[in-house]
Symmetry: C2
C-alpha cells in the first residue's frame, strides 16, 4: 500500500481513539460517575469532541486522502477502498461544521443528559426543557451547516444512517403501518389472547443480574472483553472489540424488562465484539449504520429471545433460578406470555407489533421539531396526542411519556428511525440465516447459539463498513431492504399464538 | 486581566481536561475495565498523552505566555503570577521531550501496568521484567532530554516534587535514618511491647467497605463527589473537585489493612476535593507537589487515624459493626494494637517508624537503576539484599518484594521519595494545626474532624499551587521543612506506648 494510505490510517487511529474515549466518558457518566462530576465531565466531552474535530478537518488529512485515493492500486482487497470511502464521507461532513458548534454540542449534551435523568426521576419536565431547547437550536444549526436538499431532518438522519432520507423512511413506515394495522385489529379480536402474568412476581435485581450473565454467555458474549452493569436506560458502549460494555435495568416486579433488555444490549455487543480485529481503528472497521446495529439487538431480543425454540431453553434457566415460580411452567405458556401484543407506554418494553408505532410517533415529532413546525414547549402535549392516536392510550406522567428516552437529551435527533430499520433488517437477515442453517431452531432449543452467531459474524459483523448498509442487505439476503420479511414474520408468529388468520 | 492571560487559561483548560481524562483512563483500567481491553486502552492513553503534549508545546501557548507575563499588572491577587509560573515550568519541561517519547511512555506504562498486575498475581517476575526494562530505557531517555546537572535521577524527581534534588533528599533521609535507628533499637528492647492481634479475625469485605464509607464520611469525604471501590493497589484519582475517587483493598483476616488504606486514600481525596473551585482547570489550581499530597494522606492515616483520640471514636464504630469482636475491647488497647512497630515486607502496611526505611530502599534502587549502575534483572536480588540490610527480614516471594508496588509499572521513577517527604510535611503541619486548634484532640475523640479539615482547607488545600511546596511549608508552620517535628512525634508517641525513654 502507498505511504499516504499508511500515514492516513495512523492519523485516523487517533480520531478513533478519541471516539472510544468519548464512549468511555459517556459510559462512566451513566454508570459510575458521582453526581457532582457533571460539570467537569461536560467540559471533558467538549474538549475531546473539539480535538477530534481538529484532527478530522486538518488539511494534512485532506491532502493524504486525495493522495491515497489517487494512488490506490487495483486490488482484490476491498478494505482500502472502503476505508477511503468512509473517511471521506466523515471528513466531508466534519469540515462543514464549525469547531465551536461541535464542542458546544458535546458539552450541552452532557449537561442535558444529567438534567434529563433528574427530570425523569422527579417527573419534572421543566427541569429538562430549557436544556433541550438549546440542543435543538444547536442541532438545527448543525444541519444547516452540513446542508440539505429536501428537508433539514435529512442532514441529521444521515449521521446515523448514512444516505437515508426522511421521505424514504416515511414510505417504509407507511408500508409498515398499513401492514400492521390489520394485524393489530385481528389480534384485538382474538378469542383467547395470551397474558404476560407469568412474568410478574418478585425477582431480586441481584438474581436477575445473575440470570442476565448466564444468558449473555450463552449468546456468546465474552465477559473477559466486557461488563454488565445497571443504568437508568440500558445501553451498549464498545470502545474496541476487547472492551464492549452493556447495561440493563431491572424491575423487581417484572422479569421481562431486565431479561430482554440484557438480550437486546447483548445483541449490540455481539456486533461490536465481532467487528474485524484486523481492522480495529480503521475508518471502515466500525459499524456501518445504526439500522444494522439495531438489527443485531432486535435479532437477539425478539427473533431469538422471544422465539419458541430459545424460550424452551430459557424456561430451564428460569426454573434453575426461581424453582418455585418457574419449575412447573410449560415452555409453551412462557412463549405465549413473552409475546403478548398490547399497546403500551414504554418503547423499550413494547411488543414486536406495536414497537414500530413508537418510532413513527417519535420520528414525526422530531421531524417537525427540527423543521421548526413545533417548539420544545409543545412536546409533552404533542406526545400525549400522538400516543392517543397511535396507541390508543393516555399518558399518565411525562416520565412514562416524553421523558422516557435518553436520546433527545444527548441531542440525538434523527436517531429513532434507525430502530425501525433495525426491525426490518433483523427480520430479513434472520430469514436468510434460517435458509442457510436448516436446523437453526433445533440448535436454539438446546441453547446453542454458535451456529447463528457464526453466520452473523461472517455475513454482518465481519464486513463492518465494507459495504453501505443497503448493499450489505442485498449481499446477505439477495434482496433490497423491504417490509416483507418483517410483516411475514409477524403474521406467522402472532397468527399462530393468537389463533387468528393474518 | 489581559486578553492574552484569558486566552492562555482557555488553552490550558483543554490540557487540564486531557489530564482528567488520563486519570479516568487509569481509574477505569484498574477498577472496572475487562482484561481484554488492555491493548486498546494503552493506545487511548498514548493518543491522549500525545495530544496533551501537542497542546502544551504549541507555539501559540508559548507566545501567549510571554505576552501575558509582560502585561501582568501589579496586583494583590497572587493567582495570575502563580498560574504563569506553573504553566511556564510545565511547558519548559514539555518542550524538551519529543512527542513520540511521551506517547510511547503512556502506551508502555499502560501495558506494563497490566503485565505487573498479572506478574504480581502469579508471583512471576519474568512476566514483568521485559516491560520494565523498556520503561526504564524510555524514562532515562526522558531525563536526558529534560537535562540535569548533578545526576540523571534529579530530572525525574523534579516531575513529582518540583525543585527537589536527590542529594537533598539523601541529606533528609540520612537525618531521618539517624534519628530512627536509636528509636527502633529502644523499641526492640521494650519490656512489654504491644501486639496487633486485636485486628485479626474474620471480617467480610462488604462489612469493611461499609465501615470505610462511615469513616470517610466522618473525615469529610463527599460521596456525591466521589466513590469508594476495591483495587489491587489502593489509589486516589481526582479529575476535578466534583469527582474524586478512592479505592481500598481488603484483607478478610486483618482489619487494619483496609481501614487504614481507606483513611490514607481519603486523605488524598480531601486535598483534591479542597482544591479551590474558583481555580479549577488553571495551572496553579492543582496540587503543588506529591510530597504535599502525601502529607495529607499520612495525616489522616497516621496522625489522626492512629492517634489516641480518634481511635477512641473508631472503637465505637468497630463495636457497631462487629459487636462480638470489638464490643468489649478497650480503646487504649486498640490504640496500642494500631501502633505496633515491627519491620515488615509491605510498605503500605508499614508502621510509622519503619515506613521510611522502605522509601530509602526504593530510592537507592531507582537512583542506581536510572543512573545505570544496576540493571532491571538485578532488581529481585537487590531488593532481597536491601530488605535484609534495612529491615532485617527475608523476602519469601517477589510478590511480597520487588513486585509489591504499582509505581514502577507505570514508569513512576523518582516518585517514591515523595512518600517520605509526606511524612515530614504531615508531622510539621499537624504540629502547627495543634497549636492553632487547642482542643483538636478532644474534637477528634468525638469523631469531629471539621476543625482539622477546615484548618487544612484554609492553609494547605485552598492555596493549591499558589506557592512552591517549601514556601507553603514556611507559610503554614513558620519553619522550613525538617525532620524535627516528625522525629519528635515518633519519640513522644512510641516512647509512651512502648514505655521507654526515647
Amino acid at each position: 500500500m502507498t505511504d499516504a494510505y499508511g500515514r492516513l490510517l495512523d492519523l485516523y487511529r487517533e480520531i478513533h481513539d478519541l471516539g472510544g474515549i468519548m464512549g468511555l466518558l459517556e459510559w462512566d457518566q451513566e454508570v459510575v460517575m458521582p453526581p457532582r462530576g457533571v460539570a467537569g465531565r461536560a467540559r471533558q466531552q467538549a474538549t475531546v469532541a473539539g480535538l477530534q474535530h481538529d484532527l478530522m478537518v486538518a488539511p494534512e488529512l485532506g491532502n493524504l486522502l486525495d493522495e491515497a485515493a489517487a494512488a490506490l492500486p487495483e486490488s482484490d482487497d476491498p478494505w482500502p477502498r472502503a476505508n477511503l470511502r468512509e473517511l471521506k464521507r466523515r471528513r466531508d461532513r466534519a469540515v462543514k461544521v464549525p469547531r465551536r458548534l461541535v464542542a458546544e454540542l458535546a458539552e450541552e449534551g452532557s449537561l442535558a443528559q444529567s438534567a434529563w435523568a433528574e427530570a425523569r426521576a422527579k417527573n419534572e419536565w421543566p427541569l429538562f426543557a430549557p436544556r433541550l431547547k438549546r440542543l435543538v437550536d444547536l442541532r438545527r444549526e448543525e444541519a444547516d451547516a452540513v446542508g440539505w436538499n429536501t428537508e433539514r431532518y435529512d442532514a441529521l438522519l444521515d449521521e446515523y444512517e448514512p444516505g437515508a432520507k426522511a421521505a424514504e423512511m416515511e414510505t417504509l413506515f407507511t408500508s409498515l403501518r398499513e401492514g400492521l394495522v390489520p394485524v393489530l385489529d385481528a389480534l384485538r379480536g382474538a378469542p383467547a389472547p395470551p397474558t404476560d402474568d407469568l412474568w410478574r412476581g418478585t425477582f431480586a435485581a441481584a438474581d436477575q443480574d445473575r440470570l442476565g450473565r448466564i444468558v449473555l454467555e450463552t449468546m456468546g458474549y465474552d465477559f473477559t472483553a466486557g461488563r454488565l452493569d445497571a443504568s437508568t436506560h440500558p445501553f451498549t458502549q464498545g470502545f474496541n472489540p476487547g472492551d464492549v460494555r452493556v447495561t440493563s435495568r431491572y424491575d423487581e416486579g417484572d422479569l421481562q424488562t431486565g431479561l430482554y433488555a440484557s438480550m437486546h444490549e447483548g445483541g449490540h455487543a455481539l456486533y461490536e465484539m465481532g467487528l474485524p480485529a484486523d481492522h480495529t481503528g480503521e475508518p471502515a472497521g466500525s459499524a456501518i449504520s445504526l439500522g444494522i446495529h439495531e438489527s443485531q439487538s432486535r435479532t437477539w431480543e425478539n427473533l431469538v429471545g422471544r422465539g419458541r425454540p430459545f424460550v424452551g431453553w430459557l424456561q430451564g434457566r428460569l426454573a434453575d433460578t426461581w424453582p418455585q415460580t418457574f419449575g412447573a411452567v410449560a415452555a409453551d405458556d412462557l412463549y405465549r406470555a413473552a409475546n403478548v401484543v398490547r399497546p403500551s407506554l414504554i418503547r423499550i418494553e413494547a411488543d414486536e407489533v406495536t414497537y414500530n408505532l413508537h418510532i413513527v410517533l417519535r420520528m414525526e415529532i422530531e421531524r417537525a421539531l427540527v423543521g421548526g413546525d413545533v417548539q420544545v414547549d409543545d412536546l409533552p402535549g404533542l406526545w400525549r396526542e400522538k400516543v392517543r392516536r397511535y396507541l390508543d392510550l393516555d399518558v399518565p406522567t411525562d416520565r412514562q411519556g416524553v421523558l422516557q428516552d435518553i436520546h433527545w437529551s444527548l441531542g440525538l435527533f434523527g436517531y429513532f428511525p434507525t430502530y425501525a430499520l433495525g426491525n426490518l433488517y433483523g427480520a430479513q437477515f434472520h430469514a436468510a440465516a434460517r435458509k442457510h442453517i436448516p436446523d437453526l431452531d433445533a440448535q436454539l432449543a438446546r441453547g446453542e447459539t454458535s451456529g447463528l452467531l457464526g453466520w452473523l459474524r461472517t455475513n454482518v459483523h465481519g464486513p463492518a463498513s465494507l459495504y453501505p448498509a443497503e448493499d450489505l442487505c442485498r449481499r446477505v439476503t439477495g434482496e433490497p431492504l423491504s417490509t416483507g420479511p418483517f410483516l411475514a414474520h409477524v403474521r406467522a408468529k402472532f397468527g399462530d399464538i393468537y389463533g387468528v388468520a393474518l
